[in-house]
């Protein structure tokens, strides 16, 4: 009898955290590594005794990249599963759709999506009270690229972008931030996500002779355009890719044409390249080793966003217990959090906590990454 009661008590002794990721569907390249990462982390934490002796219980739902399913999943997590915090969603559009749910139910939400609008309420100009995000905004990637160009004394650039949401967002940031860095955009070319060839756009750019090209796309087009760039003999014009380029697979697919291409990457993508005294070195190397050992697949940049989100919540639980308001306050005050994608410094005005310093400039050398200062 006593055993039954103590068992019932043991079941209450767990911290319940909810997660919604796009594990299947069009955004599975985001949600799948995110899910794998948080499951791996929860296993590790519980094996080491949990959080202050309490088990970490993760409830993960798959929204399949669909806004309705995502909305339902978040509602379910909060009202039925009674979680103390939610991490995810993986997509910007879906995150924006569930912000009202988090706000109404006064539950902290740590999104793994990139749009700055997630932590910026256009009407008030301030972040939403209960919502945070871990990925860098694309404006920071643009700032990192522009800073590098400025230091090289380049002002005349051409930009190319894919016509998806990702490309359009990057393009608008490139245009918006250009005056600040003295960038003169002399060509602004676009292409579709399933286009097979960008030679026409690049020929036009070649004719205008810019000092550098910045390309904003994700998917096979970012590789195809590199091949075209090389074929047209334009390798004398430095090519900068977006942070969506961050996978060794892309270098491989470019079939030797990627030599000399630059891109901004978060630390977890280049863990092995970081110097030993880099503040993120041990955290990123640890993640790299555990993930590749457990799942036998290369590290994904996006899994890192999941890592950052869950670890933040775990730190909050460890310090403040599972009162939702306490978790929220803890997150908002958190400074110097060493994550996969940067060192976070949150504040009431900044629920993302990152700056362009979260990106390191990387160049492709000998078919692998190399740091460039």
């Amino acid at each position: 009898m006593g055993l039954l009661i103590s068992q019932a008590n043991a079941l209450d002794e767990a911290y319940k955290v909810g997660a919604v990721f796009s594990v299947t569907g069009r955004a599975s390249f985001l949600g799948d590594p995110e899910k794998k990462t948080v499951e791996m982390m929860a296993e590790k934490i519980n094996a080491a005794g949990g959080i202050n002796g309490k088990k970490l219980e993760l409830v993960i739902y798959d929204d399949e990249g669909d806004a309705t399913k995502c909305n339902l999943a978040v509602k379910k997590l909060i009202t039925r599963d009674k979680v103390c915090a939610v991490i995810g969603p993986s997509l910007s559009g879906l995150s924006l759709a569930v912000i009202p749910v988090a706000e109404q139910n006064k539950t902290p939400l740590v999104s793994c999506a990139a749009s700055y609008k997630i932590v910026h309420n256009e009407k008030t100009g301030k972040p939403y009270h209960w919502v945070f995000k871990t990925p860098q905004s694309d404006s920071m990637a643009v700032e990192a690229i522009y800073t590098h160009l400025k230091n090289r004394g380049i002002t005349k650039i051409a930009i190319m972008s894919v016509t998806t949401g990702y490309g359009a967002s990057g393009r608008s940031e490139l245009i918006r931030l250009a005056p600040e860095f003295n960038m003169n955009i002399i060509a602004d070319e676009k292409y579709g996500p399933k286009d097979t060839d960008m030679t026409a756009q690049l020929t036009k750019i070649k004719g205008m002779a810019p000092a550098a090209i910045v390309n904003w796309s994700i998917g096979p087009t970012q590789v195809t355009m590199i091949r075209n760039w090389k074929d047209l003999g334009m390798t004398a014009i430095p090519l900068y890719q977006s942070h969506g380029f961050g996978s060794r697979k892309n270098i491989e697919l470019a079939a030797g044409a990627a030599e000399g291409v630059l891109c901004p990457l978060g630390a977890c993508n280049i863990a092995e390249l970081l110097p030993a005294d880099h503040p993120q070195k041990s955290v990123t190397m640890d993640y790299l080793k555990s993930y590749t050992a457990k799942y036998n697949e290369p590290l994904s940049s996006f899994g890192g966003h999941g890592w950052d989100a869950l670890q933040l919540v775990v730190d909050a639980l460890s310090a403040a217990g599972d009162d939702k308001a306490a978790i929220r306050d803890y997150l908002e005050k958190k400074k110097g959090f060493v994550g996969q994608h940067g060192i976070f410094n949150f504040s009431p005005d900044d629920h993302n906590g990152l700056s362009k310093a979260a990106f390191s400039m990387v160049i492709v050398k000998d078919n692998d990454w190399a740091l460039v200062d």
Binding site: A209, R227, L232
Partner: protein, 236 residues
């Protein structure tokens, strides 16, 4: 770096237009064959192209077969898919109207795409170019040698097909089916077999398009739809 002349730019646009256009023209040829025989638009045509590319990747890269063996093997496999499509999705339809059949082809394309994403995942795949990757330059314009393979296969296919449809009995039988299937069967043409043949041929040609294009622009599970839409536009 040297500024290129307007003439070179124009030449480059012309060449790029021809080469990229020939990719979609190959897809269009596949549409035409099935349409010529059955009057239906085969919305799964793009998927044959995609399968050609991905199966070739499997044969050449994963199984290590040399190009000369992998090429025909891939075509045979994709042709089989085309035959299966006719037997399982087209032929069994009781009262085939053009609209019903078109919807059937859409269903098949979704099925093929889903299966492909299951087998190969969502990543793009690459194939080694048939004759290397050194671009050929002339008069300031540049072209990948692989494009000559695409154009070459297109010309060979187009010539072979026009001879087939105009000068052989089977070819004429296939055209007759499009004109008037009832009259065709009255004169002893096995209409169902002609339809089967049209799907097989279209699948084979789609596969050739996929195999020759993948070294240029990679191939992934959902490339089919866009190739089909643009290829369809080139029918007219």
């Amino acid at each position: 770096m040297e500024k290129i002349t307007l003439a070179s730019q124009l030449l480059q646009y012309l060449i790029t237009g021809l080469t990229v256009g020939s990719v979609y023209a190959m897809v269009a040829v596949g549409f035409n064959i099935i349409y010529n025989v059955t009057e239906i638009i085969n919305f799964a045509q793009g998927e044959f192209v995609m399968l050609g590319g991905l199966i070739m990747v499997f044969m050449n890269v994963a199984m290590g077969l040399p190009l000369i063996l992998a090429f025909p093997a891939t075509i045979i496999l994709v042709t089989l898919v085309g035959i299966l499509m006719d037997r399982l999705a087209i032929r069994p339809i009781r009262r085939p109207s053009v609209l019903t059949l078109i919807i059937a082809t859409i269903a098949v394309s979704i099925l093929i795409k889903g299966t492909a994403s299951f087998i190969w995942g969502k990543d793009p795949f690459d194939l080694p170019a048939f004759s290397g990757r050194n671009p050929i330059t002339f008069l300031g314009a540049v072209v990948q040698p692989q494009y000559f393979w695409v154009m070459g296969f297109l010309i060979v296919t187009a010539v072979a097909l026009s001879i087939f449809f105009d000068r052989t009995i089977i070819g004429k039988a296939m055209s007759a089916c499009a004109d008037n299937p009832d009259a065709a069967s009255l004169v002893g043409i096995n209409v169902k077999q002609m339809i089967l043949l049209s799907f097989a041929l279209s699948a084979a040609i789609g596969a050739v398009a996929g195999i020759t294009v993948t070294p240029i622009s990679l191939m992934e599970y959902d490339r089919g739809a866009m190739l089909a839409v643009k290829g369809f536009g080139r029918r007219f």
